[in-house]
């Protein structure tokens, strides 16, 4: 954490002294790797709290490593994307914002207090506004940024009001304090508490883009550049999931049936609506946006299942989801032309025959999102289902299965498009630039990770088991 924050300052000074894209990029990578190493070292330590506001334990460190590694990968994609879209413009600040956002999400992963929660979520969101509309020449970027700004501000206010309500009844803002005080609450106090948490669900739902708080996601994904979309889909969501799990674990909010009912409804809606709306899209980024809505819905199935298995399954799933979605967005980045991003489904026509390797990788990522065996997504889905069924959540499990069948449609559609004969493909006319070598390398690494996790996931399962408190 400190390294990351210090690193940001250092990079800022560096930019002031010498503006050089490559230099900034490398510094950023170094800073992030240093933070990953620091977080890894933390894992060995005993769990301890920092004041009241944060807990350093294996769970938090695991998420930090995960989020930082994801940021690392996104950084590389950003480098590719920036070079292609922004030749000769100022792009150094981008990395500062990216690191700031990562700082916010890492803080969220270890926070155990409403204050730290709120501060970190704001650090994250404010950097994201700017990142989303960073390519200000593009029409949709500004629109997307504004949309995100307004909706996120609104969700923050919900969050704050919810916290205020909880504080009003419990007199504490720390998660531990909350759990200590809860048994002694009278019925009206519980009502207030549940109402407060309900409002917080609205705020969290916005961040995770769960139905019915999902409206911003497709537009923002479409407007932002692919690496930034990847960041929103992976790091930003991952950190909120970490926080959600921690809040519910420590304060044991599982005992309030109304809250769980709300989550059940949200989960069902997210799974169904996310997948159904994705069917009608022609833009790959919008498809991924809706699919990420559905995936967070799947994740809630495990979350609802509760302690033990449920937490492990959710952690496992978010890990796999992050790896896969990074691959998918990375693919968009790598395939993009200098004039437009490869977002339209038409761009993928015949890709299998033009660039078999990349298309094969994209197929793997899509199959993993669809949850087909030999890919990591399948193991993740298996874990979710086991967790759900273990708590006799038959209804949720059925919805999960049914909606993933719906989901297959659009993943398959994309794959089929890639296989179409390229006789009439449009992109032949504008020769696509050779994809960046780094990009291909990173994508290959992600692809190998997805497949190897699909074939022998044992080690990750063990890690996930060991970190859950």
């Amino acid at each position: 954490m400190v390294i990351l924050a210090g690193g940001i300052l250092f990079t800022m000074i560096l930019i002031a002294v010498k503006r050089n894209h490559r230099l900034t990029f490398i510094t950023t990578l170094l800073v992030i790797s240093a933070s990953v190493i620091a977080a890894l070292l933390q894992i060995g330590e005993k769990p301890h709290t920092i004041g009241e506001i944060a807990v350093v334990d294996r769970f938090g460190s695991y998420y930090q490593v995960l989020l930082l590694s994801a940021t690392f990968v996104i950084c590389i994609f950003s480098y590719i994307s920036l070079r292609r879209f922004f030749p000769g413009k100022r792009k150094e600040e981008y990395y500062l914002l990216l690191m700031l956002a990562a700082l916010g999400s890492c803080m969220m992963a270890i926070s155990a207090h409403f204050i730290s929660f709120f501060v970190s979520i704001e650090i994250l969101t404010i950097s994201l506004y700017t990142l989303i509309s960073y390519y200000r020449e593009r029409q949709k970027a500004i629109e997307a940024g504004l949309k995100y700004l307004i909706l996120a501000a609104m969700s923050s206010s919900f969050l704050l009001f919810g916290m205020a309500l909880v504080y009003a009844v419990s007199g504490t803002m720390s998660f531990f304090g909350l759990s200590a005080i809860m048994p002694s609450l009278n019925p009206s106090g519980i009502l207030m508490l549940v109402a407060g948490i309900g409002l917080m669900i609205v705020g969290i739902g916005f961040k995770l883009a769960l139905v019915p708080f999902h409206m911003w996601a497709p537009d923002v994904y479409e407007g932002a550049s692919a690496p930034v979309s990847a960041f929103i889909a992976s790091v930003s969501k991952g950190s909120v999931v970490a926080l959600l799990l921690r809040l519910f674990m420590i304060a044991d909010l599982y005992r309030y049936e109304k809250i769980m009912l709300a989550f059940t409804v949200i989960a069902v809606l997210s799974m169904l609506i996310g997948n159904l709306l994705a069917l009608m899209q022609n833009n790959v980024k919008r498809i991924l946006a809706y699919s990420s809505i559905a995936h967070l819905g799947y994740l809630l199935v495990a979350f609802i299942a509760g302690k033990g298995m449920g937490i492990q399954a959710a952690t496992f799933y978010i890990t796999i989801y992050i790896v896969t979605i990074l691959g998918a967005f990375g693919m968009i980045t790598v395939l993009s032309h200098s004039d437009n991003e490869a977002a339209d489904i038409e761009n993928y026509k015949g890709l299998f025959w033009r660039r078999p390797f990349l298309a094969g990788m994209l197929t793997i990522f899509l199959l993993s999102l669809a949850g087909i065996p030999l890919t990591a997504g399948f193991i993740g889905k298996y874990f979710l289902l086991t967790a759900g069924l273990g708590k006799a959540q038959w209804m949720l499990a059925f919805v999960l299965v049914a909606s993933s069948v719906i989901g297959l449609f659009y993943y398959l559609r994309l794959i089929v498009t890639m296989m179409k004969q390229d006789g009439d493909a449009i992109s032949i006319s504008s020769p696509s630039p050779a994809p960046s070598v780094y990009g291909i390398f990173v994508l290959a690494a992600l692809g190998v990770l997805v497949v190897s996790l699909g074939v022998c996931p044992g080690w990750l399962v063990d890690i996930v088991k060991s970190i859950s408190p």
Binding site: L374, T386, L389, V405, L408, F409, L412, V416, M419, V461
Partner: protein, 538 residues
């Protein structure tokens, strides 16, 4: 260990073929042919070995390796008579389908063979798995490459057909997955051991209602694969649109995985629930027989016609499985093998015709015998096989199934027998329209070449051999069949007296069966041969 190598071998050959396809079009074919042939040899070796030294264990050979211990998932493979037969069929048809597509597939040869070998690997996995997780895993592994095979190398309407195939099988497969998980949890909660191990799960105790629901999940997945009537509609499309090799594998092997699943998993795991379900299953089976035959008669597309024949024949399998006696089960095993051979052959013929005259419409064919006598003769053999001509394998299978299920349910069996009559109608219609009659167009076509004759001759040798010496298959599958039938009847024996009236008890039926079966080859053939004479007058 050798079992694991079988799968690894196919997969690595598939990858090699893909790589080789970049430089050369011949190399992938040779590599995959070599891979599948090695598999075939290994299976034959196992077969011969098995007959020499008969082990006391239920499995001829098995292999266990831990995979994801945290969930109780193992790589557990085992082969007994039934799976050995299925493996032999897999590799045999695998070789033939590679040969059959030798000239048909001209572009992306490497990727084609990659998919082909992965389908075969998945199927091999299905036939070998003794761990339910691994089973589901292989079950899904065979889908994606099949989907690619149809959607890339298929005919005009391939994308639609591929979608339909994939969604039907995937949706039903996920239901099965839910059931597998349910079984896993029920077993875990009772015994505290969370495992997917087939042999341990066999002893799961559960409430009848739970068992029934869990069984339904499995059954739906399997009868969708088996293309039983309400769930059959993917099959004609997929078969028609797939390339020849795809059709052969679909009909010859993929459908069999459904039957195999019912025999290997559903009956032993849920004996009582299966008894409850049996009447429904048998009715569905009979409907499939008749409906499939009726639709086969109505088709003008040759491949579609053969596809409906499959629906009809799979109805026999379903009927036989749920008759719960040894004889019918033997017939089912037989049917699985001979249907694979005969329908595979018909698809190869249809594919060869399509390659030559670029149509599958039988209205445009006719009088082809004079142009292609070799193909005509081969066509005659397999058309006769699928109508159940004595002396060919299908006859043995169908008669065993019918006699066996007669003990279980007389009325339904009598209705099912009509299917045999219907079979003569649709089958002879193929011969009549395609090879006899007047020529519709002046086709200028070549007859079967050496390669194609090789394929067809080997298929016809097998089908005649099985017709004359069915004991080859029956003996091999016997132990499995006795096990399955024994287990299902034993567990329900004590249940109620009423059941015994409906289904004959194990002792009685088995003794009866054995007598009939041993005297079968010469006893049963005679009366029917006369019918054959009548038919040839058509």
């Amino acid at each position: 260990m050798i079992l694991a190598w079988l799968i690894i071998l196919l997969m690595s050959c598939g990858l090699l073929a893909w790589l080789a396809g970049r430089w050369n079009n011949i190399l992938p074919r040779v590599i995959s042919l070599a891979g599948v042939s090695v598999q075939f040899l290994v299976v034959v070796w196992l077969w011969v070995n098995h007959q020499q030294g008969n082990g006391s264990s239920r499995w001829i050979t098995s292999y266990t390796h831990s995979w994801i211990p945290a969930f109780g998932i193992q790589i557990k493979l085992g082969v007994d008579g039934l799976s050995l037969l299925m493996l032999a069929l897999t590799s045999f048809l695998g070789i033939l389908s590679i040969l059959a597509s030798w000239k048909e597939i001209k572009d992306r040869v490497g990727f084609f063979h990659f998919n082909l070998l992965f389908v075969l690997a998945g199927i091999t996995g299905v036939f070998l798995s003794l761990d339910l997780f691994l089973f589901y895993f292989s079950w899904e592994v065979m889908l994606i490459p099949m989907y690619f095979l149809i959607s890339i190398w298929g005919n005009e309407n391939r994308v639609y057909a591929a979608y339909k195939f994939f969604l039907f099988t995937q949706a039903s497969g996920l239901l099965m997955f839910l059931s597998i998980l349910g079984l896993y949890l029920v077993h875990g909660q009772h015994t505290g051991v969370y495992t997917f191990d087939y042999e341990q799960l066999l002893s799961t105790v559960m409430a009848p209602q739970t068992a029934f629901l869990l069984m339904l999940g499995f059954v739906i997945a399997f009868i969708v694969k088996l293309s039983t009537v309400p769930f059959h509609s993917w099959l004609p499309d997929a078969h028609t649109q797939a390339p020849t090799a795809g059709s052969v594998i679909l009909a010859g092997l993929l459908l069999k995985t459904g039957a195999y699943g019912l025999i290997r998993f559903v009956l032993p795991l849920f004996p009582q629930a299966s008894h409850q379900f049996a009447p429904v299953a048998m009715i569905l089976g009979v409907i499939s027989i008749l409906y499939g035959a009726k639709l086969a008669f109505a088709q003008t597309d040759l491949k579609r016609l053969v596809a409906y024949i499959s629906v009809s024949h799979m109805g026999f399998i379903l009927l036989g499985i749920y008759a719960f006696n040894e004889m019918a089960m033997q017939g089912v095993v037989m049917q699985m093998v001979v249907h694979g051979v005969s329908t595979g052959a018909l698809f190869i013929i249809a594919g060869a015709l399509h390659e030559r005259i670029h149509t599958r419409d039988i209205a445009q064919m006719g009088g082809l015998w004079s142009k292609m006598p070799k193909m005509g003769a081969m066509g005659l053999i397999f058309v006769m096989a699928s109508l159940g001509l004595p002396g060919l394998g299908n006859f043995v299978a169908e008669i065993l199934i019918l006699i066996g299920s007669f003990f279980a349910n007389k009325a339904l069996t009598i209705v099912a027998t009509i299917g045999l009559v219907a079979a003569t109608i649709y089958a002879l219609r193929i011969m009549q329209k395609v090879f006899y009659g007047t020529e519709q167009k002046q086709w200028n076509v070549a007859d079967f070449g050496l390669r194609e004759m090789g394929i067809m001759v080997s298929l016809s040798v097998v089908i005649i051999w099985l017709g004359l010496f069915p004991a080859t298959v029956l003996n091999l599958a016997k132990s499995t069949v006795v096990n399955v039938v024994g287990s299902i009847n034993k567990k329900t024996e004590a249940k109620t007296e009423a059941k015994n009236c409906k289904y004959p008890g194990p002792d009685h039926s088995v003794v009866g069966m054995v007598v009939i079966r041993e005297s079968l080859p010469d006893n049963q053939i005679n009366p029917k041969t006369q019918i054959k004479d009548d038919r040839t007058g058509y």
